[in-house]
């Protein structure tokens, strides 16, 4: 059929099964918005900032497993969205982001709201396109969705000049894609898999090192079975929270800079790392030369560039972790879980020596208590998003996650301002669950305008602001490594968060006691409108354990034991 470029965008969305688009209009994208107005197949959510649109699309994608879609205009609309693209790129989140561009005839003339968008997005997207003719648009859009979700997922940016959205051309979405140069590996090499299984069978202290790639590959349930059948203990990265359920006996905990003592010790003592969907991030490994020093490494990942990038893999397996683990499960009989009995005991001892905990030794509520309490009250019924800072680490440490896609956080880029819009996207994707955003008094102000989006669209995100009157994470580093010089991190001057929420038509609570917190959370869940629950927490609490940047994993600063002082 002969339709305009703008109509093609709509038709492609419908063909891809898109049900929610996050965005913000402007001159260069108006033709497409005109078509959005005319259709009723999907919902458009108007965020109040383009950065929030992309984060909302990320949250939507992470919670649903589908490709997230955002739409923005040229120039400032696009530049506002760049942080979101970079965030999605770092965390391998599949997105298609459509931006308007000035008409072809004006490109390169410093036209009003012109910016070289593909030039900017090149380094923070998996792929990008500048569409120069509407006849290419069906293929480009189809490729964009395919590239975003296949292989190692990531954001794809499509920049469409205004005249191209008006141009009429043939639309056929049934075309076969012919991506001769893009063929992601999905099956692991059977010989390598066999060798890896043999290595596991021979190991004395093997350890699963589970990463976010497992969630992207929808492989958590295969991994759970694999862990169960082998009896091998497991550590999770921050991104992998929820792959195993918190009550799984073989789950030691989270590893890395703020990982538990037992997890980091297990990684330091293991003789065989079984890395699944991981990339050996520096926040996970600490000092590389000391990381899993005595261990061989099995590394399964979809991205060949991740393998042996930082840590040499003795058993590299390129493939979709779901397929590879399924193949491994077929040979699981060769592995005798009895062999690891004493290793499991060692780990139990690590855990008894320094359990992951906190002390309730001040009048003020401890931030960790809040996270734990939400876990007790809402548990599996909530999806948990976070902003960036101490609160984020406490959420990762103390929330009792039960399933994959329950935890949504900006890991690789660490973007303050991610949490609230992401939680809006999460709620749009999974309305039956309560959408919680753990945030800080710093972070929440970085996308606070989303109160308006949430009120208008009746998206009842509950933002729990762990208010320590500090840019707490930076303050922690200053306390520990800069001799307590708290440069520009004291947030004593603050808005009235209750009035702020109310000003937009949301609901606000300010709580200082545990009883008040329970009551506020219960009320917010029942009221079912967007809420701020500001919890006044202990100001000087530090996230522990902590591996100082560049230090060895086993060399942790630990929580002082009670009575140590």
């Amino acid at each position: 059929m002969q339709i305009s470029g703008a109509q093609m965008v709509i038709e492609a969305f419908i063909a891809e099964g898109v049900d929610t688009v996050f965005g913000y209009p402007g001159g260069a994208i108006m033709n497409v918005y005109d078509e959005i107005y005319k259709q009723d197949k999907f919902e458009h959510i108007l965020n109040r900032h383009e950065q929030a649109s992309v984060h909302a699309a990320e949250g939507y994608s992470k919670a649903s497993g589908k490709v997230g879609v955002a739409m923005i205009t040229s120039g400032p609309g696009f530049t506002n969205a760049v942080t979101g693209l970079a965030d999605a790129y770092m965390d391998s989140i599949p997105l298609v982001v459509i931006s308007g561009q000035v008409p072809m005839s004006l490109i390169g003339t410093d036209a009003f709201q012109e910016i070289d968008a593909v030039g900017i997005s090149r380094s923070c997207t998996k792929h990008n396109y500048l569409v120069t003719d509407a006849k290419d648009l069906p293929r480009i859009l189809k490729e964009a969705f395919y590239i975003a979700r296949s292989g190692r997922p990531g954001p794809v940016h499509v920049d469409i000049p205004k005249d191209v959205t008006a141009q009429i051309a043939e639309f056929d979405y049934e075309i076969e894609l012919d991506l001769e140069t893009y063929k992601p590996h999905t099956k692991g090499n059977p010989r390598q898999i066999k060798k890896a299984i043999e290595a596991i069978a021979k190991a004395k202290r093997p350890l699963f090192y589970l990463g976010g790639g497992i969630i992207n590959a929808n492989a958590a349930y295969e991994v759970r079975e694999f862990v169960q059948k082998t009896g091998i203990p497991a550590v999770e990265t921050f991104m992998a929270r929820g792959v195993l359920s918190h009550d799984d006996e073989l789950l030691i905990g989270m590893l890395g800079m703020h990982g538990s003592y037992a997890s980091n010790m297990a990684m330091s003592e293991t003789d065989l790392v079984i890395g699944l969907g991981v990339r050996f991030d520096d926040r996970v490994t600490g000092k590389l030369s000391e990381f899993a020093k005595n261990a061989d490494v099995i590394h399964v990942d979809i991205d060949p560039a991740s393998i042996s990038k930082l840590v040499n893999a003795d058993y590299p397996i390129v493939g979709d972790v779901k397929n590879v683990v399924a193949d491994m499960l077929e040979q699981v009989g060769k592995i005798d879980s009895e062999n690891y009995e004493s290793w499991r005991e060692t780990i139990i001892n690590f855990n008894e020596l320094h359990p992951l905990t906190f002390h309730e030794d001040t009048d003020r509520i401890k931030p960790q208590w809040v996270v734990k309490r939400v876990g007790e009250l809402l548990g599996d019924s909530a999806n948990i998003s976070t902003d960036v800072g101490q609160h984020q680490m406490w959420a990762g440490q103390f929330y009792p996650f039960t399933r994959p896609r329950q935890f949504i956080s900006s890991s690789g880029l660490g973007t303050m301002g991610f949490g609230f819009p992401a939680a809006i996207g999460v709620k749009a994707a999974s309305p039956e669950k309560t959408s919680i955003n753990f945030t800080g008094d710093g972070s929440i102000l970085m996308n606070v305008q989303e109160l308006m989006t949430a009120v208008e669209k009746k998206i009842p995100v509950i933002n729990i602001i762990l208010n320590n009157n500090f840019l707490g994470m930076v303050r922690q580093w200053q306390t520990l490594f800069y001799d307590k010089r708290h440069a520009e991190t004291d947030l004593s001057v603050q808005p009235d968060f209750v009035k702020l929420a109310e000003a937009f038509g949301g609901i606000g609570y300010r709580v200082k006691t545990k009883e008040e917190f329970d009551a506020a959370l219960k009320d917010a869940v029942e009221k079912n409108i967007v809420a701020f629950i500001e919890v006044i927490v202990e100001r000087m609490e530090n996230v522990m354990p902590m591996v100082p940047s560049g230090g060895s994993l086993f060399n942790m600063m630990l929580l002082e034991k009670k009575g140590d002082k």
Partner: protein, 158 residues
Amino acid sequence: MTEENQRRVVSVIVINEASVLSRITDLFSGRGYNITSLTVAPIPESKYSRLTIVTAGSVRVIEQITKQLHKLIPVLRVYEHEDMVEKEMAMIKLPISENLSDINTLCEAYNGKIVNAGENTIIAMVADEPKRIDNFLKAIKRYNPKEIVRSGAVALER
């Protein structure tokens, strides 16, 4: 040669489309790596082009770059050359008053000759291994070259 300064030749076969070159060079510039030379031309009767990139740097980083090159959507193949035949061309503009037969003899030793003669200047060309081109350019100095252009290397695996 130190780890840090390995000379490497990489060939990349890519779909011949807009922006593909910047996708590739971004991988180098993003790491602060310099490209010593770069040649690009279409591969006959195909939709592909072939690039030859000469760079210098640590083995580890260059390995990382080549892996990232593989990941780019329009990249079909990447060759990290080990055992290759490598050639480069150079053209030199010289005053016509110099000893032309000497110049011609010198060029011949490097697979070249005088290819153009004008009113005041001549142009000579040579084609040889990049190292030998270096030597040639040293030797030609004494004839007062006015302008020199090197093509950058092209390479084929043996």
